[in-house]
Amino acid sequence: MELTAGAGERAGFVSPNWVTTRLDDLVNWSRANSLWPMAFGTACCAIEFMATAASRFDLARFGMERVAYSPRQADVLICAGRLPFKLAPVIRRIWDQMPQPKWCISMGACASTGGIFDNYAMVQGIDTIVPVDVYVPGCPPRPEGLLYGIMLLQKKIKRETVFDPTLRVEQLANEHGLFLEPAAVDELSEPFGNSVQQTRSA
């Protein structure tokens, strides 16, 4: 945040009691630096998340002092691990229970793309269920990786404006019972990399 105390200094007085700043800067600064995470840990990524939260890497340095474990008091959903279809309605309900403003970090290869689990039981990327702001690659990502993802999210938040109402609109299921068009879900779920040659019947 840029404080405009310089002008006062030039005019010959500095007050300790007030500053002027842009509202966006102030709001975004406070939001970005007190992100309370809602950890949704399903697999080994959750172990790395725990390491990130513990003393050596210390998530609290970035304003994430309190890991919420309650969606109603959380700002950022961190999906750490693979998401089976059976848990899809659970993560969606948690996301719906979180109050605005809220963001989502998809931690690790499985949460982001399904990873190695390109099979009948696994959601191929949580972005087919909830909107994702930052994808953290890795299998699992090291704590530094997650911290970098969090810092990217903070950067993103600092570029938002409180005057854009579209940023905070609650997303409702469409007529297909999905949050994306079916074709988009299919496309996001397509195999990639080494498995492009495989077909659904393989």
């Binding site: 309605p89 099979n119 297909h176 079916p182 074709a183």
Partner: protein
């Protein structure tokens, strides 16, 4: 080798008691495997549990195997353990693909078979006649794509990803994660008398404390 010969004594005893209902048997890596007929499997397993010389009192696992060779029958596998005798026995039932994929439930012999048989039903589509509560256990109850561990099941499922996500999101959470599922209250009458007494005592002690 003496241990292996000793292990297969159960196979010999089975053959003496049940004759033609016992198929081939083998000792593989020290584990005795006995094939039994589908029709008499329940009777044979009950005999293995109750006969003084056998006493396989603990059912470690129930599972099934489908081989890649389409000609081979499916197998239901019971992994038995005798705690007093420190012995293992693997009992297999072969199920012909043309016939009904059904065997008799052993929940009446070992309570622990309940969830194991549900898992085999869920993953392989093998029914267990007489099971008290035969429904899916790993996949959700409205799962409609078949039995995933069968060889003819496509790796990514039968429906499109969009359809899979749609069905998953449409699942009724409360129907699958109710506290009632975790309750042991209705199992109370099936518990042994000493355990019932202990629970009663604990409840009494907790009430006064």
């Amino acid at each position: 080798m003496t241990a292996a010969v000793n292990e297969s004594s159960s196979a010999a005893a089975l053959r003496a008691a049940f004759g033609a209902a016992i198929g081939r048997s083998a000792v593989v890596h020290g584990a005795t495997i006995v094939h039994v007929s589908r029709e008499r499997a329940h009777e044979i397993l009950a005999w293995l549990r109750d006969t003084p010389g056998e006493r396989y009192d603990y059912l470690t696992d129930v599972t099934a195997v489908e081989y890649r060779d389409r000609e081979r029958p499916l197998e239901v596998v019971y992994q038995l353990r005798s705690i007093p005798r420190n012995a293992f026995l693997r009992v297999k039932i072969e199920l012909d693909r043309s016939g009904p994929l059904e065997v008799d439930s052993v929940v009446d012999l070992w309570q622990g078979a309940n969830w194991l048989e549900r898992e085999v039903w869920d993953m392989f589509g093998i029914r267990f006649a007489g099971h008290p509560d035969l429904r899916r256990i790993l996949m959700w109850e409205t799962y409609d794509e078949g039995h995933p561990l069968r060889k003819d099941f496509p790796l990514r499922g039968r429906f499109s990803r969009a359809e899979q996500v749609r069905r998953a999101l449409g699942a009724d959470l409360a129907a699958h994660y109710s506290m009632g599922e975790l309750s042991i209250a209705e199992a109370y009458d099936a518990l042994p008398a000493d355990m019932r007494q202990r629970l009663k005592d604990e409840a009494g002690a907790g009430g006064s404390a």
